[in-house]
Symmetry: C2
Amino acid sequence: NMMRVAVIGGEGIGPEVTAQASRVLAWFSERRRLPVEVAEAEFGLEAYRRTGKVIPPETRAAIEGADAILFGATGGPETAEVPPEARREGSLLKLRRSLDLYANLRPIVTDPALYDSAPLKERVLNGVDFVIVRELSSGIYFGEPRGIESRPDGSRRGFNTNSYTSEEIRRVARFAFELARSRRGRLCSVDKANVMEASVLWREEVIALHADEFPDIKLSHMYVDNAAMQIVRAPSQFDVMVTDNIFGDILSDCAAMAAGSLGMLPSASLGPADAQGRRTALYEPVHGSAPDIAGRGIANPLGSILSVAMMLRLTLGRPDDAILLERAVGDALAHGARTADIAEPGRAPVSTAAMGDAVLASLDRL
Amino acid sequence: NMMRVAVIGGEGIGPEVTAQASRVLAWFSERRRLPVEVAEAEFGLEAYRRTGKVIPPETRAAIEGADAILFGATGGPETAEVPPEARREGSLLKLRRSLDLYANLRPIVTDPALYDSAPLKERVLNGVDFVIVRELSSGIYFGEPRGIESRPDGSRRGFNTNSYTSEEIRRVARFAFELARSRRGRLCSVDKANVMEASVLWREEVIALHADEFPDIKLSHMYVDNAAMQIVRAPSQFDVMVTDNIFGDILSDCAAMAAGSLGMLPSASLGPADAQGRRTALYEPVHGSAPDIAGRGIANPLGSILSVAMMLRLTLGRPDDAILLERAVGDALAHGARTADIAEPGRAPVSTAAMGDAVLASLDRL
Ligand SMILES: CC(C)[C@H](C(=O)O)[C@@H](O)C(=O)O
Ligand SMILES: CC(C)[C@H](C(=O)O)[C@@H](O)C(=O)O
């Protein structure tokens, strides 16, 4: 039976990188008989100009009918013409929340071809292969009360609430424990339990769940400040890391340099499993809309292409094809394809499309 | 007139590193006629065992009568015997809050001697010299309401409040602008204004203050996730960075590796200026109590020693002596002194005390 993929390029470099990921998806459909039906959908500034909505009804319909969403990027200064209210209504945050995408997986894997590749060799560290599982549907991103209030003395106060329930903590922790079980069996939970009660509860629930259901997993705990340092110092110590929404946001960008560039990193955002074990799933590169380079055809599409590999593994039931695609990316890099963000000095970088070509050529070859 | 310095070694490696910093302070008192009177005071587990208080009354008195506090470290698993209530009562957080230490300065400076020093050469980057100004008295560390509540269905909810008033933002931003003015004239304000109202207000107040009082400063804004990445990718782009309490906590640890080791980093925490421009000031290394290496005499005392340099500059009115001490640290490193955290493979590291000796020898020589 056909699986439906909604492809939403979005804004900035989103459409450019997503176009290459779509070519890769088409390759699997044609060459590997992957039963997917792709529907492109509008999102963001262009959609707003045409329809008055950042997410038009057809896009909502495409999202609701999809087994997986391949998302590009959103945001940036060029979208100032969209009023804040319309922007909020159609924000990625709102989408994550309404789809209840609570488990955000951000794998950090370094490619051997980049280890010895100047100027990256000073930062791409050998043997890094870990996954950050970021809670994506709660915490300070969504907690109430929040706002800016005026005070009697004429000054103002801005406030947000970091809030986690036992259930919110347990479901993302369970996901992370299960992932660890399928990998090297180690989970590091990151919090700030020496300062925040929300983190105290986080730690208690993770410890209880470990005792109840995952005694076989080696569990450790780290404060977020130390975790930020360890990710820079010695990222190969990690297997799976689980943390809250805002810490996951910061730590994954902090980890990006270990992989050479933010442009290399894919992500998957998953909702609750239904009775058949299917989950709503949104795949997107970790990078944003990068308005400064949008439209120039120089963005790195590998974050988006590797998001397709995650889709093959997690939604489309094709773990072998996922591995094939990851190998093809490695092969393209080994053959010297480098976009500007990972280029060696003195060697001309390739375009977004040429990087797509290189991956397709590797797929044909492997 | 005599200046009074309260020296509080605290727990873990705190007393060991502080002992070396005290020797350095004594050197300035003897050789450079620095008019300081040093009073040692107890803090932490030992104090609790003897007096039933983490901060005994004599220590409080010493703190209140001091022009500056030189603090070591606190915390760690070895203090489990102190009940939570007593621990909270005597916590560093409570001390920061009660002294209204709102401006926490964390300079990140790389030493040329470490640039070419394996295995650090992969991470110590040339020409890094910036200061993180972290708001230290408010934000999610102290915001109310906070707690863990039981819910009707038997589950629990942990919550904290991130709260900033206009005044809290302006006073730390003003400090950072002034610091930038005395340096290279650039300030980067870090927030998460695309998600938190507390950050929206932060950004608005920083922008308003810039327009009103600091139009000569080049102001930029960065989201915290991007800042974490930029600190790893290209830290030399920064001059002064100002951010909130929790972001400053994470980003300064993230930056530590650029300097080679957390053990190298000093800090100053300052309160409001009185009519004479004097500020309550607490100086401490950025590292914590490191219980795993406590008592072994191998900790790096340079974070504490460089905190004395900050004290010479910011409290004791001796900028020339501050520079002399910083040069002496550089000289000691240039002569090959390396504690374990910054040691080269195959070369024996020196002890905490020997690093102190090396700095004193350099002071004698320069
Ligand atoms: C754009 C922003 C709201 C978003 C986030 O903070 O979640 C982004 O940084 C991310 O990591 O996907
Ligand atoms: C020990 C801890 C509460 C403290 C903090 O988070 O402020 C420490 O990490 C620091 O940076 O001084």
